[in-house]
């Protein structure tokens, strides 16, 4: 008791929250008793306040029915007193949510509120309390409130009237929706109409720092839920909607149309019918003279809802059912369709498409009307010139039919076979579209039409599909290489191949395969080369279904046999390039299948792979001086194909494969690689790839499959470490080409990643380091290769997790003092961040931990930052454009490798990892722009573009640091965009201009304004760049940079003057004089504008 009395006194003095009381140390009764004198205090807040705050924290169930009732009566009494009303309301909120509050209590509370509360006299937070009480009671005592009938309904209208705060409105709207749906409002429809529709349309715009996070869309959605809550609103609402539709802005119009679309089905068919004509007349304007595409689409959707509703009941009625608005719309649009080449035809077709998506009756009617208008138009000789437009219109109509019948995973879809709506016209349509294939101008729309037609399930029979495929094949035969026609034709065939692969296999594939040459065309006839590549690409796009893929592999391996068997060809390299492209196509097709999750890939381990080995190994036996398999690109892609297949097979198959592979390559037992139908025969002991330099070129055929082996597959070698050390030595052998060497390194990385080999990692590599790197007399190329090996080992350790890679990165950092190798070492450090690329991947069963790139970045970044700051010169980017680029301060050379490492690093790692370091990094990157290395500068600007270009996820830290450096950035970009100041690199100029174009969008206007004139002047020079792509970028950037705060271009006067007076102005002074004269002449007429011109800073 004492305790509570004490607490109460404390509360009264300090108004501290009364948390202790609620923790069960006293009863409510005690509190009331102890309040004693305070209960008669003059100050209302004291009298009632404590109790309310105690109640708010009372757990549900502490109050009995009795005490709840007593409290409610107590509070209700207090509502009429201006001093106590606020705490009383606060007390009622938890009470109304209490399960011991009875129906009678609820009624009493409502009555007291209606009687005593004048909402307009209260501030927002108090009004919110009232609304919360109503909301609580509505959810717990709906029945009791319903029995209050008009008393409640009218009372609530009084409460809700005139509410303006969005926070309160959100709750008021949800209350209104419940009342509208659950209560009988027939006596006061208009009142409720008034308190909801007065908010429509919502034009609320939240303040930029709105802590409540209520958006206009939230309000719109909540309000819409009210407006469509009862059909009683219909007759009242429609005139209002129509009025808003004619008067409002684009946003209002869209909002209104969406609301109508949502409300109409509730308001019902009678309302829809009564207002159909007026509504259509308004929607028509939005469709045929649209302000923008969005609004037009909204109007179309609303039309669709209207028609679906009106004709919903008529589907079974066959006589004259179409009479009415639907028919009118069709006829009206039909008028426009008679001239399909004119601009109104396009919206008319869209109206028809919308109608097709409505009810069955209207769909049939629309299709019959539209097609019997368009089909004769196509055939009319006088209209031949308009055929493209006619075909496009037809295509849109069929596409609408397709959307109706195409199977959708979630919704229940209509079956085409139930309606067969196009059957009557399909002969005509196929005829028209195939005729269209014969003329150049109509090919594209015809192909598109056919593509849509074949995609409607169950429309065309197999013969008809065959006919379509046949016609499209003809296009394929005649179409130019890389023309649009060809790719569209393939689109049709690919659609067909999804459900009728047989037709494609029988007709299209033979056609394509027979167009492939048996031997490579001479290298000068580039057209021929492009042609076979095109055909192979086409095959790849068609042949992913298992059935077609089998044919694809059989035909292509035969083709490879042919290419390899030709000994006496004029140009071996051209032949090798041809074979390379064939294998590349196989690889592309495999990748596509893998992505689609096809399961037929493993079987090619027995069919395709032995053939590849046979081709290459037997080719090598022939001992001629130059052979096709000497081209390492060709061997590389063959290895890639093998890798892709081995990835997909089981552990057992991998183990047996690995055993034969090692037997063949390490012990010369090539026949082990043979399979049932393919036997590889070479003289015993003649295949020794690791001793024979010519045969060494085939090593990628060993290393690529190693990459794809699972972790569990043990290598059939005596000592794995010895094997890897041998590989390492081979990879550094300067007789090996870069491709071979790299493929060996990838295998080493893969083995280290999967098998650990800590001995090799800790001991053997340090010997190599001593041998090649410490000894500066060694060949520089050789030493570079060691750095590459280090990169790969570090990658293997990095993605594996842990910190073992640090030894390797430390060694790379130590090279920063070596003047000849430091750039390579710096790049390597960046390269490591790229991770395992396509070698160390999940598909290749590499051990990959998460967040390793992040760990790597965090371990390397401090060192790089430190390197830059300790070698610090003046961090200064020249603000003057003509400063010579090539003269760096001497300390720049010390810093350079760190800057290179930084740039390479952030080029390769995901943006999310370095984004929050940007404030620190940006000044360093700016400094990197001073280096002479062009590629580096391109990388830097690309990084900047990537971080600030995508402003969808606004990052204030990045924005503010960019704003801070904006002038410097602008000038650096300008400097890099000029053609005369530097070694040539259009790519650099282009990306610099592109980034410059981003800046005005993300930096506050006033920051850049002082530089604007200079920027525009420098950009004018770029307009005359010798390269077209650069000029294009300059034009776009100049348009963006020229805009002022509200988006107007300010540089017109200046430019117009130059252009019109045709004065070749070279110097600033002459331009100034010129402008001056002009200004003097114009001064008397338009002084206002002149002032503005004079204020623009002069150049």
């Amino acid at each position: 008791m004492e305790h509570i009395a004490q607490l109460i006194r404390t509360y009264m003095i300090s108004e501290l929250p009364s948390g202790n009381i609620t923790s069960g140390k006293g009863t409510l009764l005690q509190v009331v008793k102890n309040l004693g004198d305070f209960l008669t205090s003059e100050d209302g807040n004291i009298r009632v306040g404590l109790l309310s705050s105690v109640l708010q924290k009372c757990p549900d169930g502490t109050l009995t029915k009795q005490s709840a009732h007593v409290l409610i009566v107590f509070y209700c009494d207090k509502l009429d007193d201006i001093d106590t009303v606020i705490p009383a309301l606060k007390g009622l909120v938890p009470l109304t949510n209490n399960m011991n509050c009875t129906d009678q209590d609820a009624v009493q509370i409502m009555q007291s509120i209606f009687q005593d509360i004048n909402m307009k006299a209260h501030i927002q937070s108090n009004r919110l309390l009232v609304l919360m009480i109503v909301d609580n009671l509505l959810s717990r005592h709906r029945e009791a409130l319903r029995n209050m009938k008009d008393e409640f309904l009218r009372g609530y209208v009084q409460l809700a009237e005139g509410e303006k705060d969005p926070r309160n409105l959100m709750i008021a709207f949800s209350i209104a929706r419940i009342i509208l749906i659950e209560f009988d409002i027939s006596s006061c429809v208009e009142d409720y109409f008034d308190i909801t529709f007065c908010y429509f349309p919502i034009s609320f715009r939240p303040p930029s720092d709105d802590p409540y996070g209520i958006t206009a869309d939230d309000l719109k959605r909540a309000l819409r839920a009210c407006l469509c809550a009862t059909s009683r609103f219909g007759p009242l609402a429609m005139p209002l909607f129509l009025e808003k539709l004619t008067a409002g802005s684009g946003v209002t119009k869209r909002d209104t149309m969406q609301t109508i679309a949502e409300c109409l089905p509730i308001y019902g068919i009678t309302v829809a019918r009564n207002h159909a004509n007026k509504l259509w007349n308004t929607l028509k304007i939005e469709i045929f003279q649209p302000i923008d595409q969005d609004t037009a689409n909204c109007a179309l959707e609303t039309t669709q809802v209207l028609i679906t509703l009106i004709y919903a009941m008529k589907d079974d009625d066959t006589t004259g059912g179409t009479e009415g608005i639907g028919k009118e719309i069709v006829n009206e649009s039909l008028e426009y369709l008679k001239e399909p080449e004119k601009s109104k035809a396009k919206p008319a077709v869209k109206v028809m498409a919308a109608l097709i998506r409505t009810t069955r009756l209207i769909r049939h009617f629309t299709i019959s009307k539209t097609l019997s208008c368009l089909i004769p138009l196509f055939r009319d000789p006088a209209e031949i010139i308009n055929r493209p437009a006619t075909l496009t219109a037809l295509e849109t109509i069929i596409a609408a039919v397709r959307t109706v019948f195409v199977p959708q995973p979630k919704e229940e879809h209509r079956k085409y076979t139930d309606e067969r709506v196009l059957d009557e016209y399909k002969d005509d349509l196929i005829g028209i579209f195939t005729v269209g294939l014969k003329t150049a101008t109509t090919i594209l729309p015809s192909l598109k039409g056919l593509d849509t037609l074949v995609q409607i399930p169950a429309l065309l029979s197999d013969e008809e599909l065959g006919f379509v495929v046949h016609s499209v094949n003809e296009v394929l035969e005649t179409a130019d290489i890389s023309s649009d026609h060809r790719s569209s034709a393939l689109g049709v065939l690919a659609s067909v191949s999804q459900f009728a692969p047989k037709i494609i296999e029988d007709t299209t594939l033979p056609l394509l395969f027979s167009s492939l040459p048996d031997t490579a065309p001479p290298r000068e006839s580039t057209l021929e080369h492009t042609r076979y590549r095109q055909i192979l690409n086409n095959l790849v796009s068609l042949c992913t279904p298992p059935q077609l893929f089998e044919t694809f592999i059989i035909r292509l391996s035969t083709k490879l046999d042919l290419i390899f068997s030709q000994k006496q060809v004029a140009d071996i390299e051209a032949n090798a390039a041809y074979a390379h492209y064939v294998l590349l196509s196989v690889s592309k097709a495999l990748a596509k299948k893998n992505q689609m999750g096809h399961l037929d890939i493993p079987k090619y381990v027995d069919q395709l792979i032995p053939r590849i080995y046979k081709l290459f190994i037997q080719e090598k036996q022939n001992g001629t001086d130059s052979s096709i398999s000497d081209y390492s690109q060709l061997v590389g892609i063959a290895g890639k194909v093998i890798e892709q297949v081995i990835q997909t097979v089981s552990i057992e198959r991998q183990t047996t494969f690995a055993s034969s592979l090692f037997q063949a390559f390490l012990h010369g037992q090539v026949q082990k690689l043979s399979e049932q139908h393919v036997s590889i025969e070479v003289p015993l002991g003649s295949f020794q790839p690791f001793t024979n330099t010519s045969q060494f070129k085939l090593v990628p055929l060993l290393t690529c499959p190693i990459i794809a082996l699972r972790k569990e597959v043990r290598f059939p070698v005596d000592n794995e470490i010895e094997f890897v050390s041998k590989l390492a030595v081979w990879s550094l052998d300067m007789n090996a080409s870069d491709i071979e060497s790299l493929s060996v390194m990838c295998a080493i990385a893969s083995i280290i990643n999967k098998h650990g080999l800590s001995d090799f990692v800790s001991k053997h590599t340090s010997d190599l380091w001593k041998q090649y790197i410490i000894d500066e007399t060694k060949n520089i190329q050789q030493r570079r290769r060691v750095i590459l090996l280090w990169t790969w080992i570090a990658k293997a350790l990095m993605v594996h997790g842990g910190t073992l890679f640090e030894t390797y990165t430390n060694q790379l950092f130590s090279l920063f003092t070596d003047t000849r190798l430091r750039r390579d070492a710096a790049r390597a450090l960046g390269e490591i961040g790229k991770g395992g690329e396509d070698v160390l991947t999940k598909k290749n069963f590499a051990v990959i931990k998460i967040l390793t790139t992040q760990k790597y970045f965090n371990s390397v970044l401090p060192r790089i930052m430190e390197g830059i700051t300790t070698n610090k010169g003046s961090l200064h980017v020249p603000l003057c454009l003509d400063q010579n680029l090539s003269s760096y301060p001497a300390d720049m050379e010390q810093q350079a490798p760190y800057l290179i490492a930084l740039t390479c690093l952030i080029k390769f790692i995901p943006k999310a990892i370095y984004a929050h370091h940007m404030p620190k990094l940006l000044p360093l990157l700016l400094r990197g722009l001073d280096l002479s290395d062009l590629d580096l500068r391109i990388d830097i600007i690309e990084t900047l573009y990537a971080t600030s270009g995508d402003m969808n996820q606004k990052n204030d830290a990045i924005l503010s640091i960019i704003s801070e450096h904006a002038p410097r950035l602008c000038l650096a970009m300008l400097k890099n965009s000029q053609v005369h100041d530097q070694p040539l690199s259009p790519k650099l100029r282009q990306i610099a201009l592109k980034y410059l174009g981003v800046l005005p969008g993300i930096v506050r206007y006033d920051i850049l304004h002082p530089y604007k004139a200079q920027i525009l002047r420098e950009l004018a020079k770029c307009l005359d760049d010798p390269k077209r792509d650069v000029r294009k970028e300059a034009v776009d950037t100049r348009t963006k940079a020229g805009k002022d705060q509200i988006g107007r271009n300010l540089f017109d006067i200046n430019v117009i003057l130059k252009g019109l007076l045709r004065v070749n102005i070279d110097t600033i002074t002459s331009e100034f004089e010129d402008r001056g004269q002009y200004l003097v002449r114009r001064k008397s007429s338009v002084p206002g504008t002149l002032d503005a011109v004079l204020k623009t800073p002069l150049l």
Binding site: P290, T441, D1052, I1056, N1064
Partner: protein, 180 residues
Amino acid sequence: MQLDNANPIVFQSAQESFRLGNRDQFILWEDEDKDYVLRDTMEDEPEPIDEQEVFDLIRSISDPEHPLSLEQLAVISASQIKILQNTVHVEFTPTVPHCGLSTLIGLSMRVRLLRSLPNRFKIDIKVKPGSHNSENAVNKQLNDKERVAAALENSALIEVVERCLSTANRRGSVVIESNE
């Protein structure tokens, strides 16, 4: 508002770019580093500003009356542009002979070209002979520096021009409309 031409004919646009540039240079070995190789070989070849490039600059300017480009309405075409040394001649065809907006279209093109071409070029914009009722008046107005300058000081007018130019950077590429 009564439009001058409420339902004009829409023409099919030419392909996005029919220029087969250096990008399609042939390389025997198809390689990922294609761009890199090309960059070095392409470097020193200048690509002078040609008719197609000028056409690309103005083809996507919007018509003041319809949400269609000048190209779609066949107001301009690539063949109607000629470049002679440092002069660009542009000829355009109003959709109807009484088109009151011809001067506005001409002005939009002039502004676009003034902003986008190096200032060594003189720009000459004319209506196609015989395609407009008051051909001379329009031509005179469009090529009179004083009148153009005056027009550009009229903020209402420049606003309309800006609206027409807002689509100019599409250069013939079609904006994908959502059909659904």
